[in-house]
């Protein structure tokens, strides 16, 4: 399998995602520069990594969507290609219109870096196949603008279509309001598009993909992708 990790000026989790794809799950990966107008080779999955693309000075992810490579990413996604956006990558996906809603300032108005528990709400996606339904995983967050918001109508649709993939929970999987440290709608930590090929999540699975870093359950976001692709993709769209 071949992954592309997009590098925007200001991306800072690009090397981390690359490391996990290459060294931890043993797949092929390329860095792709944001100025590239086309992909020079065929990719199986595109990763939009975390960081502060363009400094996030205007609004998180809002400038990155104008990078030349984003046209290709959008085309790739529209053709059903797998796109994973983590943290700033999630913010870019919402700005680019590939995912509904938006990410706004944390409710405490401060950057928060810590471990969170996530409940896997839907394990039937290409990104969560290797988890069990309702499994609780411990995954770090590190963001200042990670509160997921959307209108009521969108939220209802997300729920109805099982598009909410990860929610902040307790270690036992209870999605209490206290776990919702950043003030996201409905404890949302990650969502998928309706078609099921574009996932955005604020927590960083690449930061918990090796036991030396605390736990390695995050790597299954990446292994799921490989499992899915080996299975030939989802049918019956």
């Amino acid at each position: 399998m071949k992954f592309a990790v997009i590098v925007f000026p200001g991306s800072n989790c690009d090397a981390d995602c690359y490391h996990v794809v290459k060294e931890v799950i043993g797949q092929d990966a390329d860095y792709v520069w944001h100025q590239d107008e086309t992909f020079k080779t065929q990719y199986d999955c595109i990763v939009l990594p975390g960081g502060f693309s363009y400094g996030d000075y205007l609004r998180t992810g809002s400038i990155a969507k104008f990078s030349p490579i984003m046209n290709e990413v959008i085309k790739f996604a529209n053709q059903g290609g797998l796109v994973l956006g983590i943290c700033n990558g999630f913010q870019i996906l919402t700005e680019a219109g590939l995912l509904p809603g938006a990410l706004v300032r944390n409710k405490g108005l401060k950057f928060v870096c810590k471990d969170t528990f996530l409940k896997v709400e839907n394990n039937e996606t290409p990104f969560t196949l290797d988890y069990t339904q309702d499994q609780v995983i411990q995954v770090p967050v590190a963001h200042g603008e990670g509160a997921y918001v959307c209108d009521e109508n969108t939220l209802e649709k997300l729920k109805a279509n099982k598009q909410i993939v990860f929610r902040y929970s307790t270690s036992a999987g209870e999605t209490f309001p206290e776990c919702n440290f950043n003030g996201s709608s409905d404890n949302i930590a990650g969502i998928i598009n309706k078609k099921g090929n574009v996932l955005g999540m604020m927590p960083h699975p690449e930061r918990c993909a090796e036991t030396i870093l605390g736990n390695d359950l995050g790597k299954h976001v990446f292994t799921s992708i490989v499992s899915w692709l080996k299975g030939g993709g989802r049918n019956g769209e």
């Binding site: 200001g10 981390d16 502060f52 363009y54 400094g55 950057f111 870096c113 030396i212």
Partner: protein
């Protein structure tokens, strides 16, 4: 230029004596641009003119040292062709005036120092000190500084993995903000700040030059006063995004092998970077300020040469490689402009077009700076303070309450409120996170890990600078050792008052003597650092604060040791001895309102035995946890071991004959708490004995409470009760 004295040099902070020296160096009167350049380069911040004779007494050599003081950062070898570059720097005065930008640009500056060496920065640490949190101004500064560090470090994507925060009234008007950066490099990529090769081009790369931070270095070398607020324009504004681009471009450039020399434009900007590069290379530099990319129109040569605009570097590439340099910087959207050339006449010649606006021997600005041997005198009242009789103080009525109160002292309490705002994981190397004795980052592609810490208890230094200096080094090393790391080297940040006062200079000399002695004994040479004097407000100096940053090497990252108790029924031992020493303790100031007595003693031989033994125990996998006893003493250290792992302990101290306050809260040095499985207990005891090291059983890991029983006291608290106070203290104060 206007001035009231008729002596423009005095307005710029130079003395008549220094002005005469400048005339001698130039063999004529300097013009105003030249005078400005001398004034910043001869400021304490750039020249170390008051500290150099003392700094020379530090040990700076060792088999592991690849680059000692004098470069942008120190470099130590970690084997496998890899090295660690590290450095600490102060940004106290800017942070006092403009906490967010002051702290942010402090971080930006220290990161540049490290990647200038050809190293990829992999970790940041900081040492912070503020007044008490009951003051609104201290809360404002604390909040702003932490946000500034977070804003810069998080954006650029270098994890802030550790540090320390103290609160004390002496820092009310003058906080201490020391930032440390650590990077990894391959030996072959080591870059230096040297301009060599006559005819090579001199290039300015990175951000454009503006009017911000003009003469910031001089501002940093004065005492703060009511008028300091007006110097807000001397504080630079940081742009971490720009620095991220600059860092990536510079690291990419170094990999090409085209770089002859590279220097960060930090304090004193273009002036310092050019004269230091030429001076180190034994060359001259000629450059045209008209060619320097500027942010605003109408800047004169004085402003251009003295601007401290951030995120800029001076690069000397090989002649003929200008286009390659430019194409790398263009890719990152940055300027890279040839502004001059390296010459052979030793002169820093600044032109504006064809007109020469300054012409100074490069070494005149650097090596020829006057050096002062200041007078040193022990403060009159100190002997009396040291003699204060602490043996007859009344004991606390309720030890459990005192213990909880101590845990909620902001200096002791959990700093989670601080480090949760820092991205301490980006880079996916952080193996031991903030809140431990030392942070540990792995070195990808090897089995190695690097342990990092920054330490200083300034109250000890105040009470006895010599002992306090020894303790600062020893404790830093002990913190590293608790993770299983062998200490390699030191970067120190000297934060003191006005060195022209004999009492302050005495503190400095004595502290340096202690630091030097401990560094020699522990084989941790000083590889660089920073001196920040004039930390005074309205004539009152801060506590003398020589912070010690230290790096250590863990050969096998799988064997890393942490502080948390891990298994029920493990036996808890104390390596080292308890003793009756309350002087300088947090307990003494909290309960008795006294900052008096002698600080705890430090016997370097005992310290070495303790550290060697602990390292062996970890290496052989005989212990499950290790934690240094520091502020708050044995009881607080035990609580930290419990909270970190969510496991309680039953502690029995009935056999001790010490008074309970000393036993529980005294800050005796050279003590480490370890936990050991029952099977390993005998081996551990034998190992301690073979190092002639005292070892005593404290109790066992058990349950979800911490119970400490002594002759005349009992502490019995659930971990939830302890955690509420320990973690709740700072958030609660910051809401106030």
């Amino acid at each position: 230029m206007e001035n009231n004295t008729g002596k423009p040099w005095v307005e710029l902070g130079l003395t008549d004596y220094e002005y005469e020296m400048i005339k001698e160096i130039l063999a004529r009167e300097p013009n105003y641009v030249e005078l400005g350049m001398f004034s910043v380069m001869w400021s304490e911040h750039c020249s170390y003119k008051n500290s150099r004779p003392v700094l020379k007494t530090f040990p700076t050599e060792g088999a592991q040292v690849l680059e000692g003081p004098g470069e942008n950062a120190g470099v130590v070898d970690i084997g496998d062709g890899l090295a660690v570059a590290f450095k600490v720097e102060s940004h106290n005065h800017p942070s006092a005036i403009e906490p967010y930008q002051g702290a942010a640009t402090g971080v930006g500056g220290i990161i540049r120092d490290v990647f200038t060496m050809g190293a990829r920065p992999i970790a940041l640490l900081n040492s912070l000190r503020f007044g008490t949190l009951s003051s609104a101004r201290s809360r404002y500064l604390f909040n702003g500084v932490v946000s500034g560090i977070a804003g810069y470090g998080n954006c650029i994507g270098i994890p802030t993995v550790g540090g320390e925060v103290y609160f004390h009234p002496s820092y009310e008007g003058n906080p201490i903000v020391n930032a440390m950066c650590v990077g990894i490099l391959e030996h072959k990529d080591l870059a230096k700040g040297v301009a060599s090769g006559v005819g090579n081009p001199v290039m300015v790369v990175g951000a454009k030059t503006g009017r911000d931070g003009i003469r910031g270095a001089s501002f940093a070398s004065e005492e703060l006063n009511e008028a300091s607020e007006e110097k807000r324009p001397a504080v630079q504004v940081g742009d971490p995004f720009m620095e991220k681009l600059l860092m990536e471009a510079c690291l990419e450039l170094i990999k090409t092998g085209y770089v002859v020399g590279m220097q960060d434009m930090g304090a004193a900007g273009l002036t310092s970077s050019s004269c230091e590069m030429a001076s180190k290379g034994g060359t001259g530099i000629e450059m045209d300020v008209a060619l320097i990319p500027r942010r605003e129109k109408g800047m004169n040569p004085y402003e251009i040469m003295l601007s401290e605009s951030q995120e800029r570097m001076l690069v000397v590439p090989m002649k003929g490689k200008e286009d390659e340099v430019q194409s790398i910087f263009r890719k990152w959207g940055l300027d890279a402009v040839v502004v001059g050339t390296v010459t052979d006449d030793g002169i820093l010649r600044i032109k504006e077009g064809e007109k020469v606006v300054a012409e100074i021997p490069a070494k005149g600005l650097t090596e020829m700076c006057p050096v002062f041997e200041r007078e040193a005198k022990m403060p009159e009242k100190l002997a009396e303070i040291q003699k204060c009789n602490l043996m007859e103080l009344p004991e606390p009525a309720n030890y459990q309450k005192t213990f909880l109160d101590l845990l909620s002292r902001p200096t002791i309490a959990s700093k989670e409120w601080v480090y949760e705002q820092y991205d301490y994981m980006v880079g996916i190397n952080t193996v031991v996170r903030p809140g431990a004795d030392a942070a540990v980052v792995r070195v990808k592609g090897t089995k190695k890990g690097i342990a990092l810490t920054i330490d200083c208890n300034s109250r000890y230094v105040y009470l006895n600078p010599y002992v306090g200096g020894k303790i600062a080094v020893s404790e830093a090393a002990r913190n590293l050792v608790c993770t299983g790391a062998k200490p390699l080297g030191v970067t120190d940040c000297i934060n003191f008052g006005n060195p022209e006062k004999p009492e302050i200079f005495w503190q400095f000399k004595e502290a340096a003597r202690g630091i030097g002695e401990a560094c020699r004994a522990l084989n941790t040479p000083v590889t660089g650092g920073n001196v920040s004097f004039y930390n005074e407000t309205k004539g009152e100096a801060v506590f003398p604060t020589p912070t010690v940053g230290m790096v250590g090497l863990i050969e096998d990252i799988e064997k890393v040791c942490t502080l948390n108790f891990k298994n029920q029924d493990d036996i808890i031992y104390l390596l080292g001895e308890n003793s009756d020493e309350l002087g300088g303790s947090e307990f003494l100031v909290m309960y008795h309102g006294l900052e008096a007595g002698m600080p705890p003693d430090l016997d370097l031989e005992k310290e070495i035995a303790l550290q060697e033994c602990t390292l062996k125990l970890i290496k052989e996998g005989l212990i499950n946890s290790a934690h240094d006893c520091s502020e708050g003493g044995l009881s607080v250290a035990l609580a930290e071991c419990c909270l970190a792992g969510g496991m309680g302990a039953q502690i029995r101290l009935e056999e001790s004959t010490l008074r309970p306050s000393s036993l529980l809260f005294g800050e005796t040095q050279s003590r480490i708490i370890i936990s050991v499985s029952r099977e390993s207990a005998d081996k551990v005891k034998a190992m301690a004995q073979s190092h002639s090291l005292a070892i005593s059983k404290l109790g066992v890991v058990q349950g979800k409470s911490l119970v400490i029983n002594g002759n005349s006291f009992t502490i019995n608290l659930t971990l939830n009760e302890i955690e509420a106070r320990y973690k709740g203290a700072i958030p609660c104060l910051m809401k106030g």
